[in-house]
Amino acid sequence: MKLKYDLVIIGGGPAGLAVALEARRNTVKDILLLERDKYLGGILPQCIHNGFGLQYFKEELTGPEYAERFITKLNDNQIDVKTKTMVIKVTSDKRIIAINRNDGLLHIQAKAVVLAMGCREKTREAIAIPGNRPAGIFTAGTAQRYINIEGYIPGREVVVLGSGDIGMIMARRMTLEGARVKAVLEIMPFSTGLIRNRVQCLDDFNIPLKFNHTITRIEGERRVKRVTVARVDKNLQAIPGTEEEISCDTILLSVGLIPENELTGESGIKLDPITRGPIVNENRETEIEGIFACGNVLHVHDLADFVTEEGKIVGRAIGEYLKRNRKFRSQPIKIVPGENIAYVVPQHIDFIIPDRKKIKIFMRVKKPVEKVKINLLDDKGKLLGSYKKRIVTPGEMVSVYLPEILLDDKLKNIIISIKKD
């Protein structure tokens, strides 16, 4: 079997699929796509709800349909795909060690590597909820897989902790399957999910959403029996005397996602402490030349459509990289998060690309504000550009276009901050 490839992509979700197809379109040959599950699509096949594709295909699709659009094309392009294959190591010189049942241990040499491993859900342990350790506590995504792929209903009386999108979607899904969702609890004073999910998943079914609330205790011996919930103060600490008990047999956790970067870290690539993904330039290339990252392994996206967009950036960039067709700036420009900006991607701009007009910068804000200006400033505080937005919220990624014309040779930093208009 073949053990040398121009491009090896780790992960067959929306990011990896987009990279594979876009790299082919940019004349990259010899592509290997590695996926640990038995089918491609990553998390998409279990996201059976609609709402995918509105940005990218301009039509509304479900997760499995969105995945299928890419998987079908992959078969036409003769890209090598290995499913049920687990990558256990990526080295800084682009060797990949992987295992599967047919081939055993594989040592693969690549010219370019894409990290597209996606993300994982935070668990009970990550947020340390006190109490017993009975059965019946699931991350929302695990419950989603049980119900939508494997055909099990995880419980009948449910409390959801966290108003992230998967939590709200699973509140609806479990209601439709006959379970009773007693409450969705959100520790923050605002929802961290999309507004449409709040309305169509919770309000449609009269599921109460309690802001400033959290679970302070889980009880039950073999199975969850009840939870104690309490209101929290502005420091997110439970307020004594506000506790109430809710009986339930199931708890779903939708308390955040963490990019899956074990392989990245072991290869020696530095991670951004905020995104918890690698630090990248505008090509989504990590500090090791030729190793790229995109999708939720880089930073957690709200929509699969945005992941596809990022995968295409990487696919194109790999075409240029393999042709050695690149010109570096004399010094990189750092994009620095300022007031009310949690993070920005990319973190720096490295290349001179003559026909490029603008660079799209993605960011997530720390807190919701209405009627704002997104300001781009240089080192000396000079305003380079300003963009009005009606509203920014942590639940919805914000993007602005940075015009190429602003990027002169002397520029070292661009500071992005949000100001009330």
């Binding site: 059976i48 609609n50 479900t62 939508n148 507004i195």
Partner: protein, 128 residues
């Protein structure tokens, strides 16, 4: 006079709007900050529609379920009733994406269609 409170989903603003109505007719919409809100309020008030995504049992497939959806949105008030009808359906593998699983669901004229491919289970590697 009747007041209905709804949240607009047209954009991340999520305007909280009040629809004032009499005998099922809208008299006024307040709380919106742009014209999209009015349109959304009218649609939601007259006949709120939703696409219903769910799953159907598969016989002899490589997976036990196939994901499905209503091809078009159906009235919101029919969602739970539709789930009861869909629970009775079984389909034989293989299933093709787009395949009609049930036509004219609950007399709505809307079909239930598969949203992924499910191959037949491969038992050839199992020795009895």
């Amino acid at each position: 006079m009747e007041d209905n409170k709804i949240i607009c989903v047209s954009c991340p603003m999520g305007c909280r709007m009040t629809i004032q109505s009499k005998d099922g007719k809208i008299i006024s919409v307040t709380g919106n900050t742009c014209p999209k809100g009015i349109k959304y309020a009218e649609e939601e008030f007259v006949n709120p529609l939703r696409i219903l995504p769910t799953t159907v049992k598969v016989i002899g497939g490589e997976l036990p379920l196939v994901s499905v959806k209503t091809e078009k949105a159906i009235p919101k008030k029919l969602l739970l009733e539709a789930m009861v009808e869909i629970a009775e359906i079984e389909v034989n593998a293989p299933v093709k994406i787009g395949q009609v699983i049930k036509s004219d669901l609950l007399g709505t004229g809307v079909s239930l269609v598969a949203t992924r491919n499910i191959k037949r289970a491969d038992f050839s590697s199992i020795k009895l």
